[in-house]
Symmetry: C2
Subunit: 318 residues, 2 copies
Amino acid sequence: MESRKKYTIGTDLGGTNTVFGIVDFDGNIVCEDSIKTQDYPQAEAFVEAGCICIMALVDKVGGIELIAGMGIGAPNANYYTGCIEQAPNLPWKGTVPLANLFNKRLGIPVKLTNDANAAAMGEMKYGAAKGMNDFIEITLGTGVGSGIVANGQLIYGHDGFAGELGHVIIDRSENARLCGCGRKGCLEAYCSAPGIVRTAKEYLKNETIPSDLRSIPLEDITAYAVSKAAHAGDELAIKVFEHTAELLGKACADFAAFSSPEAFIFFGGPMKSADLLMPTIIETYNDEVLPVFRGKAKFIVSSLMDRNSAVLGAAALV
Amino acid sequence: MESRKKYTIGTDLGGTNTVFGIVDFDGNIVCEDSIKTQDYPQAEAFVEAGCICIMALVDKVGGIELIAGMGIGAPNANYYTGCIEQAPNLPWKGTVPLANLFNKRLGIPVKLTNDANAAAMGEMKYGAAKGMNDFIEITLGTGVGSGIVANGQLIYGHDGFAGELGHVIIDRSENARLCGCGRKGCLEAYCSAPGIVRTAKEYLKNETIPSDLRSIPLEDITAYAVSKAAHAGDELAIKVFEHTAELLGKACADFAAFSSPEAFIFFGGPMKSADLLMPTIIETYNDEVLPVFRGKAKFIVSSLMDRNSAVLGAAALV
């Protein structure tokens, strides 16, 4: 890398907004701007609008000669090909060679990976995983994602799609929940924000415990409402978080048998209730894990929750 | 490495025998010999006897100056510390600094890892995984072990104990089987050779299908007997293998969500019945795996089954 390079561009491409940030080598977001992803039904028009937005930022910091490259975190992104493939929440169908499109337009190296991998990269370079060679980042949100780092490297797998721990089967029983992926019993169906809401609705239907949540129409219940109730001491809401945490603890026990990470790092909205989740995650994990791993792993809330970790992580790809 | 070095020493340390082999850089075992592990209740005496055995082999090939180093595959072995820790099937209690003991005595570098990791190393250097950067080696025997390779490197985890896929939970129901590790529902409790025997005994007890196995006293049934019966067309024995294969296929579907390997490579005694196991493993895997992985992974029987893969794999550590 030439000594003139001082920044990278980190891009957090989401279903609603796409945020572009100019990041210096210390992990500070110097400036950022965004466009509305859904405004561009054609990928080419999206890239065009994105580049206009980016160039305005680049000009602010001194020009494209100072930019080492661009990293993009996006759903259904393939690191090896630089393509987004069949992303259900993005406006573009089929396979979009996004890295290539930006590279042609900007003339700098462009790397693409999925959003959870980008979060793990950000965590390793700027966050709670600084100095760690082996950790698993688990992102809880609309889905459950993961970025797995072993031997100091992200695991991409032979096809670029490794690290789909939200789709490990946590319930193999007949009445396991249907997941958005079309299969049954995935961790995501239970521990994503919508999964937490499903658990709350099941408890409200099947249990007789009184709960403040009963005053909300079932279809209006959100993970935030459950969290608020739990923090106010609502017994049913607390049970919902305990159940969620137990499943996460059990899942992590299986993950340990795979890569024996130094730490599990949790990121995302539901972790605003870390006080409700973490003690049970840790207790369940240590109860359930193979004895050789017992008491060894750290359980940490991402230290990038308040910063734009997806932008930082994407910037760290370059 | 000096150009004079022509060989490494590969050591397969098992509960009964320890085999030492001199391996050339093309993966040929030039000569080998063994000692009885159980004859040495003290680790120091074991190392002493081992070194006498090794030096006789080394003299045959031209002296210690030609040896680049020594690799040892052993149960409960920690790659980072070079120690064997609390191995239930070895005569030495506590922590044994085996790599260090051999290094002091022989004056060459010594690396130690667990037997399944050694098998994966051998597979990558000399076997079916040649040229692969991402694969999972699954060893079926008295237990179920694994060696996971991602980005062309073995995953050791932060503590050296990663890759315990035999202890991923495949059955979370109330009546899941007790595993040797003290927990319930581990893959090993179903898909190891003793696990296959347990399944056969359960079927003989709970099913009314006629079977040639009914002529054998329950306590004398072996995995080999079940395999023989299945190959002779015995319906119950075939069902035992089908069930084993289904569980392996389901487990591999979860493993794919982790590291998305190019191939799953199976090693060990039960794979002598690969014709009975593989079609159902592959079918179940592709039925159960996340759509993005469907039809991508190869399922391969180790190409080192007839050679001493543990010796070769251990040799490949150096």
